[in-house]
Amino acid sequence: MYVAVKGGEQAILNSHKLVAEERRGDAAVPELTLNQIKEQMQLAVDRVMTEGSLYDRDLAALAIKQAQGDLVEAIFLLRAYRTTLTRFGETQPIDTAQMAVRRRVSAAYKDLPGGQILGPSYDYTHRLLDFALAAEEGVGEPEAAVADEAVDDSIPRVTDILNHEGLIEEELAFGDDGPVADLTREPMAFPAERDMRLQNLARGDEGFLLALGYSTQRGFGRNHPFAGEIRLGEVAVEFVPEELGFPIEIGEVTVTECQMINQFAGSAERPPQFTRGYGLAFGHCERKTMAMALVDRALRARELDESIEYPAQDEEFVLYHSDNVEASGFVQHLKLPHYVDFQSELQLIRSLRRRHDEDHREAAE
């Protein structure tokens, strides 16, 4: 009987089994461990933590393994887990000036307090495939020499240095006591304030932000940016338990921060000065934070009274389309059956074609 056609259930079960088999791959090859992913694919873990909005290297590694290395899928897995977690409260803002810096570069000054610290970077590698890495016996235990001189304990931010002269706008005064938007609890509302915007961009798809940031440089925007500073390192996370009333350190996180400095010709109210674009991500995500900073600055057009002419300046366009979990779901939902709507369209187009033919026949007569 027609009604007895029940394919879906069994097909889904079988599909899951096929995924499990494919995920494992050739059984002769040892199975990947979470530690291997965590330790040897750190940058993938960093991206998944950043866009998954959850700082947990173990779970990110698990998500990457489960998703067979599909990072957008891994981000989705981590988000779906994160959404079920209990919220205990908000931490104090992290202070990146107190960061244990591992890398710090500024493109704005040749030398500056704290110095330029190249740190781990692919920037000056020659992109030649390193066949030594392909060797069966591995690369052993490479070790970087320790510098003679310790890095300064506290390295001032470039934007703070500029600020002494008043050449750059003040960091947006955002009331410390005010509630911070959380778009995972409240829907986005427009016009979006900077807290919501930065959260959206931090979670946003790296590829999307990269392309948008790039567009502002190529002429679809007037950003004139300088990489004021990029820094990577560990910062303490502090939390004020209600029963104590003072902040205690509950751990540390690795973050990448990018402060873009942009020209601003001034407006009726404001003198010409440099303006800021800001990027922050978990782990080591330089490409992401730089793109984020460019887009953040572009999206300040309304606030700075600049004309809004380009995609990257359009907050509804950028913020509504930056989330790869939303985008991936909606693009791929086209795989779901649409035959009721398609049937409706079939009927419509047949009717329109009939009318078209009749009109042409009349015209010919």
């Binding site: 056609v5 069994q10 079960l13 829907p187 779901g329 649409h338 035959y339 709507d341 049937q343 409706s344």
Partner: protein
């Protein structure tokens, strides 16, 4: 309902350690408050703090959040997609609730207390004791005309729907008829323009004066809206171009129904096709009652056997062609 009891497909650990119906109670309360507001202002899109669900956006996360917020142990759930209970996504969502809420599920329209649907309103009438939950991909009826949310909200606030009327008029001027066959816009309670979700316009008249509460959940866009029972719902039209629904020259080949929404099933590669009810439960019940379509029994049996053997959902051929944009 035996197909809904199977839990072996569960990923390791999934379904354990989660709250009843997956969402935590605070989230459910928040969603219920939004639902109450939506019921109080029929057709108005209430923003809500949509959560990330373990299913992808665009696959019913809004409808699932609404269902999860209103479902209780006493409820019986039916899930349909394209009118059918056995399409993969419907199976998947029903399985999700059977697993996380341990509720009874059914395919019988009149037995269900909650029906979650994608793209159809059931053919059988519904009652005041039932709730119909729609999955909504795009809640904003004006979006195709005005991409900006800020502008759309203003237009709703001022009840400024001229743009939509002009768009429908342009269709008539160009094509001689309104070229919208699904997601056909409706006015709710003479106040808010509302997207009925991508149901075919065939189903629009059912929404009017409907005895059951109709709830709409859009997960990705984070909006909830509602039509309370017995609310006036009018499809937009013009005096000289009244609203009309689709009609078929054919009847259902299996059960002979004359006034249902029919799916076109491709039978061969030389243009052979037949039409069958999109509402699988409705069609099955009629056949059980002895109604017969024009398709000879042998052919119907052969078709069912062929489709069954492939373990594909009904209308698979049509589906392969039917991945239109919605």
């Amino acid at each position: 309902m035996p197909q809904t009891d199977n839990q072996t497909a569960a990923a390791p650990g999934a379904g354990e350690g989660y709250n009843f119906a997956y969402l935590d109670e605070q989230t459910k309360r928040m969603i219920r408050r939004c639902i109450l507001k939506a019921v109080a202002v029929p057709g108005y899109q209430v923003p809500f703090g949509g959560r990330e669900m373990p299913l992808p956006y665009g696959w019913g996360t809004g409808g699932m959040q609404v269902t999860a917020s209103i479902i209780g142990l006493d409820d019986t759930l039916k899930v349909i997609d394209q009118g059918a209970d056995d399409t993969t996504n419907a199976v998947n969502i029903r399985r999700f609730f059977a697993r996380t809420a341990q509720v009874g599920t059914t395919e019988v329209t009149e037995e269900a207390s909650i029906i979650q649907t994608r793209h159809r309103v059931p053919e059988d009438p519904m009652t005041e004791d039932q709730i119909l939950v729609y999955q909504v991909p795009q809640p904003e009826p004006l979006r195709t005309l005005e991409p900006r949310e800020i502008e759309c909200r203003k237009m709703h606030a001022y009840k400024e729907y001229g743009l939509m009327q002009v768009s429908l008029y342009e269709d008539i001027a160009r094509f001689g008829e309104i070229a919208t066959s699904y997601s056909y816009p409706v006015m709710v309670n003479e106040r808010y323009l509302m997207s009925p979700t991508p149901i075919p316009k065939f189903d629009n008249p059912k929404m009017d004066d409907f005895p059951a509460l109709q709830l709409f959940g859009a997960g990705r866009e984070k909006r909830i809206y509602a039509i309370p029972p017995y609310t006036k719902v009018k499809s937009l039209d013009f005096d000289d171009h009244p609203f009309r629904v689709q009609q078929w020259e054919e009847d259902c080949a299996l059960c002979g129904a004359e006034e249902t929404f029919l799916d076109e099933v491709i039978l061969d590669d030389s243009g052979g096709k037949m039409y069958v009810c999109s509402d699988s439960h409705f069609c099955g019940r009629r056949r059980a009652e002895g109604h017969v379509g024009q398709l000879p029994d042998t052919a119907a049996a052969a078709y069912a056997a062929a489709v069954g053997a492939q373990e594909a959902p009904d209308g698979d051929a049509a589906q392969a062609q039917g991945e239109g944009e919605t």
